[in-house]
Structure formats: C-alpha cells, structure tokens
C-alpha cells in the first residue's frame, strides 16, 4: 500500500469475472505519516482507509468485468463496520462480491480479513466513461502491476 497515493491494493490473488468475485491483498506499511497522527503511540489504519481499500477491491473487480473501458467511482457505502484494529507491517485480505449489476452503477459486498474478519461494508460504485485518457492509461498500468490483467490481458487494449 502507498497510503499517501491512495494505492490500496498490492496484488490480486483470485478473480472470477463471471461469478463477480475478487480476492486481493494489501501490505500495510510499517511506516507512514498517517500512523504518526493516527494515533501517537497507537498506530492503526484509519477506518476510512479500510473502507477505501474495500471500495478499490470492488473497483478493480468492476474494471475487470468491463475490460477497463469504463471507470468506477466510489458513490456510496452502507453498513460499514470496523471490528478490529489493523496495525502497521501486516497483510490484509480483501474480498469483494458483486451483488447487483445495475445500469451505470454496481453494488458489492466487501470485507477485509486478517486472521478473522476485520471490516465489512456494502459499496456502491458509479461506473462512467473514463473522463480522461491519462486516467485510463494509469489504471491499465496499475491493473497490470497488481496482476489484475493476468486473466484478461487480451482485452486490455493499449
């Protein structure tokens, strides 16, 4: 994870586009300015960043399903729960499951595990045309870096 750049997902472990599921992992950094403030003497991942991490896993699933032709944006969440602390220098397992594929939006059940459940939320993403080609190229590069493209490389047009 590069928290300051909002790069929350490090790798895709499993992706099933047809079933609408993704399993990804994130390495929580040992050191980050975020931990200096949140909290002094008790560094833990902020809940909002756990929610962002779950939304990004759902986002990569949405990207994989549409072959990176449209961009998902975080539009809403409900029932977010943060059950346990996530501390620096650990690994999180993030899972997202598509529960409704709407027109221009999609809804996912997401969760984070670390030896048991850490957080869960329902996430809604608005799916729109890429507003800028630079963004699409950046997402393509990121998708390849985290291994999202492994199963869909043929569809990832340059």
């Amino acid at each position: 994870m590069r928290l300051e750049y909002f790069e929350m997902i490090d790798r895709v472990v499993a992706l099933d586009r047809d079933a609408g599921t993704i399993h990804a992992q994130a390495d929580v950094p040992a050191v980050s300015p975020i931990f200096e403030g949140h909290f002094p003497g008790h560094p833990i991942m902020p809940g909002v960043l756990l929610l962002e991490t779950m939304a990004q896993a759902a986002g990569y699933l949405a990207l994989a399903r549409n072959g990176l032709v449209q961009m998902p944006f975080f539009a809403g969440s409900s029932k977010a729960k943060f059950r346990r602390f996530v501390v620096p220098d650990t690994v999180m397992d993030i899972r997202a499951k598509l529960v409704h594929d709407g027109s221009g939006y999609a809804v996912f059940e997401t969760r984070i595990d670390q030896d048991g459940r850490v957080a869960d939320a329902e996430v809604m993403l608005r799916i729109m045309d890429f507003p800028a080609e630079d963004l699409r190229q950046a997402m393509l590069a990121r998708a390849r870096t985290i291994g999202l493209g492994a199963g869909i490389e043929a569809e990832l047009a340059p």
């Binding site: 539009a75 809403g76 409704h100 594929d101 709407g102 027109s103 221009g104 939006y105 809804v107 809604m124």
Partner: protein, 97 residues
C-alpha cells in the same frame, strides 16, 4: 406481487430511501424539480427499484438520452412516467421468462 400499484411501491421506496414525507409524493411529482432528489439519491432509488421489481432500469441510457436532447427529463423523472417505464420493463421481463 401484491395488489400494490407500481406507483405505491415507487413512492414508498422514495420515502424510505430519501427523507421526503410519503404524503408529498404524487404521480405528478417531478423527482428532481419537486422532490429535490439528486442523481446520487436517485441511484439509491434505482438500486431499490431494481431489486424490488427484479429489473435493470436503464439509468445510464436515460441519462444519455436526456443529455443528448433525445428525451425530455419529464419522460423519465415525473413519477407517473417513471412508473410507466417500470411497467414496460416488468412486462418485457415477464414476456421473456
């Protein structure tokens, strides 16, 4: 499906999803102009209606048609018209089943 009309279901969903009192919602209500529902609230409503009716409201296409001037906002966002569109989608789904 119960004997509830499409409008009753839609109005209840809007009242539950937004903070609009149920009695303010009529078939003539314009969801944007009269009820003040913004596009994000509308997505929540579409999600609830998709689930309730087992359909996929083509929200993206509607928005595009309105933006391109091919349809008027009223065609989709006045509630009686929205209900008519939903009835069409449900009929189409049932015909294909």
């Amino acid at each position: 499906m119960t004997a509830q009309s499409t409008f009753e279901i839609v109005a209840n969903v809007i009242a539950e999803t937004s903070e609009i009192p149920r009695e303010k919602i009529t078939p003539e209500s314009h969801s944007i102009d009269d009820l003040g529902i913004d596009s994000l609230d509308f997505l929540d409503i579409v999600f609830a209606l998709d689930k309730k009716f087992g359909i996929k409201i083509p929200f993206e296409r509607w928005t595009q048609e309105v933006n391109e001037g091919k349809a008027s906002v009223d065609d989709y966002f006045v509630l009686k018209n929205l209900c008519a569109r939903i009835d069409e989608l449900v009929a189409k789904k049932n015909a294909g089943a």
